[in-house]
Amino acid sequence: MELLDIGIKFILIVVIFLISLVVAMYSTYAERKVAAFLQDRVGPNRAGPFGILQPMADGAKMFMKEEIIPTRANGLLFIVGPSLAIMTACIGSAVIPWGQPIQIGSRIIDLQVTDINVGILYIFGVVSLGVYGIMIGGWASNNKYSLLGAIRAASQNISYEVGMGLSIIALLMITGTLSLKEIAEQQHGWHWNIIRQPLGFIIFLVCAFAETNRSPFDLPECETELVGGYHTEYSSMKLGFYLFAEYINMFISSAVMATLYWGGYNYPGMDWVAAHVGPTIAPLIGVVVMFAKVFSFIFFFMWVRWTIPRFRYDQLMNLGWRTLIPLAIANIVLTGVIMTFFK
């Protein structure tokens, strides 16, 4: 029985890993399609019907390309950079609850790789590690543009982690737990945290954009100023890893936002559905709901990217330190006051 449990966990890990990779792959396709539609264009439509095989073609291209390591670059760190970026991006998914425990036969399986009681802290830790991939890669390239990109990435992530952490504190005051599983369970039905924490969500959303280096906060790879930013010197699959890491980060942060604020796998009327379809199908519907929320967030990320121009560096710092952090602190105070007087 022990062995079976380990086997099930192993299968779950592999499935989630594959899902994040496939989602990341098709996010590149979706990004181009969304960009095209928002600009009255067509987008990739040559590889397969509607260009659906475009990610495969891109992947094959990435693998076939010549691998260049600049002579003056630090050889070891040059390879460690993208590896670290993709690794930290992939392990973030371990604590996210994808659905309610599913019942197959007499066995109940958690649709979550591991439920650690400091789930949010784990996510924060992994996200903070992610910037090391960018920093190391940018520094090891021995190129001033890469270094500037790396510096920007580091300062941006540090600034916005503060705001993100503070915005989460107000949420934790309500939930009283750090475990993502318990937070998801508390939002049963329509009791989503967004209703009680709208301001906190907006702060978290803005910080998530900054943490994943997505436009309008994509200064580390700002093409107009820094050639390619931290990945200027990278080619072949090492570049692919950086791009992949960005998309996986987007997927994970969408899942975190869906879990923390938008009810995760919960949806109105889930009890009625669960009573009618049984304990095997109902969690699967929850998983579908969860992924629908995640994909909506991914779409939102892309929608924003093709709408809003990039921030200037001083504006970025202004927004982070002088707007978001005071707002987050005010949100904490407000939440505390409301909790004291209305409970």
């Binding site: 095209a36 539609f37 928002l38 009255d40 264009r41 067509v42 439509n45 929608w303 709408t307």
Partner: protein, 165 residues
């Protein structure tokens, strides 16, 4: 100073209020605009499968015309080559032999007629110059190729096919 046009607009730089400083309403407005475009029909013409209609007087690839009996109209007078500002046309004249009356309309014809499509500027002066109405730029866009020599089109590509074939 008098404004040159009535398009002048006086801007006043007021400090932004709190709502404007939060960027959020403007961002929402921008997102609304892009979303409107999301549902708009795209204007792209999917080129190789779908072609834009050319205008009536579009000048494309040249064709050497035949008359109603299928004889080549060109008499190798050389006026087209002379008129060509890009010097894209060369030809070699030859005399019609007895028995070739069904092939060429006049006693003299072009044995070799070449247009360098890389030199041609599609100005249409050759069709203006032609006294025999033998050359017209009524074809399609000249297709791409890999080698320069393949852009020199001879009679095999230029003479229009016979009507009854």
């Amino acid at each position: 100073m008098e404004p040159l046009s009535n398009k002048r607009k006086v801007l006043d730089f007021k400090p932004l209020n709190l709502l404007e400083r939060s960027y959020l309403p403007e961002i929402a407005k921008g997102l609304g605009i892009t979303m409107k475009h999301f549902f708009k029909k795209d204007v792209t013409i999917r080129y190789p499968e779908q072609k834009r209609e050319f205008s009536e007087n579009f000048r494309g690839q040249h064709s050497l015309k035949r008359d109603e009996d299928g004889k080549e109209r060109c008499t190798a007078c050389g006026l087209c080559a002379l008129s060509c500002p890009a010097e894209a046309i060369t030809m070699t004249a030859a005399e019609r032999q007895p028995g070739e009356e069904n092939l060429y309309r006049e006693e003299k014809y072009a044995a070799v007629y070449e247009i360098n499509m890389l030199r041609c500027i599609f100005c249409g002066l050759c069709e203006e110059a032609c006294p025999k109405e033998a050359i017209y730029l009524d074809g399609d866009i000249v297709p791409t190729d890999f080698l320069r020599k393949d852009f020199i089109y001879g009679k095999d590509k230029l003479v229009e096919p016979k009507l009854n074939q």
